[in-house]
């Protein structure tokens, strides 16, 4: 039993850390420039496709990840300079419409370049087997993901909390006008934040590609979860994004695993097995509603 809980906790951690890579960029963009960027999920998709293409071309997964991060960051800069920059002063509706259009453009472009069927991105051979942890086996690749995710989270913490650039970012998130008045080039800062967020998206896409599937529309389902995360964590807060991601990851995984058997203790087997998965899939939204009810600003609001 403890083994099962431990393994499920690792699974939840793995899922949560990958969500964090997406939510971190999203929350900064949303927090600093008050900009809703729905195309964030598309950057994740483009990152996964670039990783698959570069891995196939070079034969190395690491080169694939590097190329994907670089390429997606450049794409992020391009989008920011040509389009997003014009939207900061507009209202949220205009931003949502324009970035939703970007999703459609990205999906169709990817469909034209790579086709409608999923592209194959395999785990590197050395990592495709299980490793023995205390008393049970766990997929080596998932452990790697947990490691990389934790490392990035730590780096991000140092970057945001301990460096001058991080200070500007935090200042921009809590009061943009004041930061500008103090002589920080918020416009340049934002281009950098967007490029950085795009690179994190690409990292998540490349790492999750072999576990999930590299396909058109993969960004939308995870984008919804990323929004749930930043709403739970508090918009603009990296710490909130981390806590929110881990909460969502754990609640989703443990819910899926435990709810059906929990229901079976007091319902008939048939009802439990049809009700369980349905309930498990709405569990994270219940969590979000609960957080919004008691802490409408999220757990760690950036502007308080």
């Amino acid at each position: 039993m403890t083994q099962l809980i431990l393994e499920q906790a690792l699974n939840g951690l793995q899922f949560g850390l990958m969500l964090f890579l997406l939510a971190a960029g999203l929350t900064l963009v949303f927090g600093i420039m008050d900009m809703i960027n729905l195309a964030h999920g598309s950057l994740y998709m483009v990152g996964a496709y670039l990783a698959a293409a570069a891995t196939q071309a070079s034969g190395s997964f690491i080169i694939g990840i590097g190329a994907a991060m670089l390429g997606t960051a450049l794409l992020g800069v391009l989008i920011e300079v040509t389009l997003l920059r014009r939207l900061y002063a507009r209202n949220h509706l205009a931003q949502v419409l324009a970035t939703f259009a970007l999703i459609l453009i990205a999906n169709e472009s990817v469909r034209m370049i790579w086709g409608a069927q999923p592209v194959l991105l395999n785990t590197p051979d050395e990592l495709s087997g299980p490793v023995s942890l205390v008393g049970f086996f766990y997929p080596a690749y998932r452990l790697l993901i947990i490691g990389v995710g934790a490392l990035v989270a730590a780096l991000l913490y140092v970057l945001v909390a301990r460096t001058r650039v991080g200070m500007w970012v935090r200042a921009g998130a809590s009061n943009r006008e004041m930061t500008e008045a103090l002589g920080v080039n918020v416009r340049l800062l934002f281009t950098a934040v967007l490029a950085f967020g795009a690179a994190l998206c690409a990292l998540a896409g490349a790492l999750l590609g072999p576990l999930l599937a590299v396909q058109v529309g993969m960004g939308e389902s995870i984008l919804i979860l990323a929004f749930v995360v930043i709403v739970i964590g508090g918009i603009g807060s990296i710490r909130g994004a981390l806590v929110g991601s881990l909460l969502v990851g754990l609640v989703d995984t443990l819910g899926r695993a435990a709810l059906p058997s929990l229901l079976r203790t007091f319902l008939s087997s048939e009802t439990a097995s049809s009700l369980g998965p349905a309930l498990a899939s709405i569990l994270i939204y219940v969590l979000m509603v609960a957080v919004l009810f008691w802490r409408p600003e999220g757990l760690f609001p950036a502007r308080s």
């Binding site: 039993m1 499920q8 899922f15 069927q117 997929p139 396909q215 695993a257």
Partner: protein, 394 residues
């Protein structure tokens, strides 16, 4: 002066109108609405059905029953609402004579009522929900492949015969998944460790695999079509579960699409099917050889089903001599089944589902070293589905 201009215009329009009507009376073409899943994780299935269907049309020289075939292909994106919209357009605007192609039963159940109300024949090349085999059976619905339960029943029987005692079942939470579990349990009588329902389209099975590990089953039966199954098998092997539990699946999760993506870990896996690419009959040999020539890959069971669906329409149209508006005659012609299927002999039951053989296949290496399926024996002979008694065909 002006009035005469309008009048002549009106007259011209009327003439145009009657000529369109005249064209409708003397049919020279058959319109087929092909709606299938051509994007997303289920795309492999729809693409195979489409390619099989198109190959048959090519073999028939672009005709169905002597009339020019017009095939309209639309992607349903595996979304019921998209499927409903496309169906509406097929029925009302394009006025198709046949519909086919849907992969997933939940989509089939979503569009079925509109198709049947419109008195359009639906020849299912895949989805075979239990609902349409039993109480909701319909004169306008035919399934040329199987009833959903059948392939799972065959695996259940085989697993039972091999003496496995503790089996965990995994299937997506949708009508086809429920049919799968019911079908398997109809012939497997041992202990079911757990019935795990996953979300349709789910790609990460970490939570389910941890649960399977804790249950320690001697066998795992899974029905996860398309990309879902590809991910499940890969993650099952990566989690180190293949050492303790034997994997079983219906042919859906062990055919060329999955083998191509997963490769060696599939070796030695037993599965069930009503068709196999190594079946010895003239129609099948031609189909398999030409499919490889045309598309550069081995056909899957889905491709064979698409191929058969076109052959079935061809025979039906020919039998009624192109008089597609005589629905009663067309239904009788379709029921009579005057075509040679690539799976060999089969006939339609009173609920318009096949009565046929089901075979055991194993994944191994063929003479050229390719990993592929090999037929091992027959599990069921002339097997009918379990719902036919509830069907009162009107």
């Amino acid at each position: 002066m002006r009035h005469t201009k309008y009048l002549s215009l009106l007259a011209a329009l009327l003439v145009l109108g009657t000529s369109i009507h005249a064209a409708e009376a003397a049919r020279t073409s058959v319109k087929v609405g092909f709606l299938s899943t051509l994007s997303g994780p289920g795309a492999g299935l729809g693409v195979d059905i489409r390619d099989g269907f198109n190959l048959a049309i090519k073999h028939l020289n672009g005709k169905l029953g002597g009339l020019t075939a017009e095939v309209l292909i639309v992607d349903d994106q595996q979304k019921p609402e998209v499927a409903q919209q496309a169906t509406e357009k097929f029925l009302k605007k394009d006025k198709v004579d046949f519909m086919t192609g849907i992969v997933f039963s939940n989509l089939m159940l979503a569009v079925g009522p509109a198709v049947f109300d419109n008195k359009t024949f639906y020849i299912s090349a895949n989805a075979g929900p239990s609902q349409y085999a039993g109480e909701q059976c319909n004169p306008f619905f035919f399934n040329v492949a199987w009833q959903n339960d059948n392939l799972h029943e065959a695996v259940g029987k085989y697993v039972q015969g091999k003496g496995f005692k503790n089996v965990v079942l995994v299937a997506p939470n949708y009508p086809g998944g429920k049919d799968a579990m019911v079908g398997f349990k109809r012939f497997y009588k041992g202990k079911v460790g757990e019935e795990i329902y996953t979300k349709l389209g789910q790609l990460d099975y970490a939570a389910e695999l941890a649960q399977i590990r804790s249950l320690k089953p001697d066998a795992v039966f899974f029905f996860l079509p398309g990309g879902m199954g590809i991910n499940f098998v890969k993650q099952f092997v990566a989690a180190g579960l293949s050492a303790d539990s034997q994997l079983f699946a219906p042919g859906f999760s062990a055919d060329e699409d999955v083998i191509k993506a997963v490769g060696a870990p599939m070796l030695g896996m037993f599965n069930s099917s009503h068709w196999a690419h190594d079946m010895e009959n003239a129609e099948n040999k031609r189909f398999v050889a030409d499919f490889q020539k045309e598309y550069g890959r081995l056909p899957s069971l889905y491709a064979s089903q698409g191929y058969d669906a076109a052959l079935m329409m061809d025979a039906g149209v020919r039998d009624v001599k192109g008089k597609l508006d005589d629905k009663e005659a067309l239904r009788k012609a379709l029921e009579a089944k005057h075509f040679k299927s690539v799976r060999g002999e089969f006939k339609f039951n009173t609920n318009h589902y096949p009565v046929q053989n089901y075979y055991l296949r194993v994944i191994g290496k063929d003479a050229q070293g390719r990993i592929t399926n090999k037929t091992m024996g027959t599990i069921f002979t002339n097997h009918a589905d379990a719902y036919v008694a509830q069907c009162k065909m009107k």
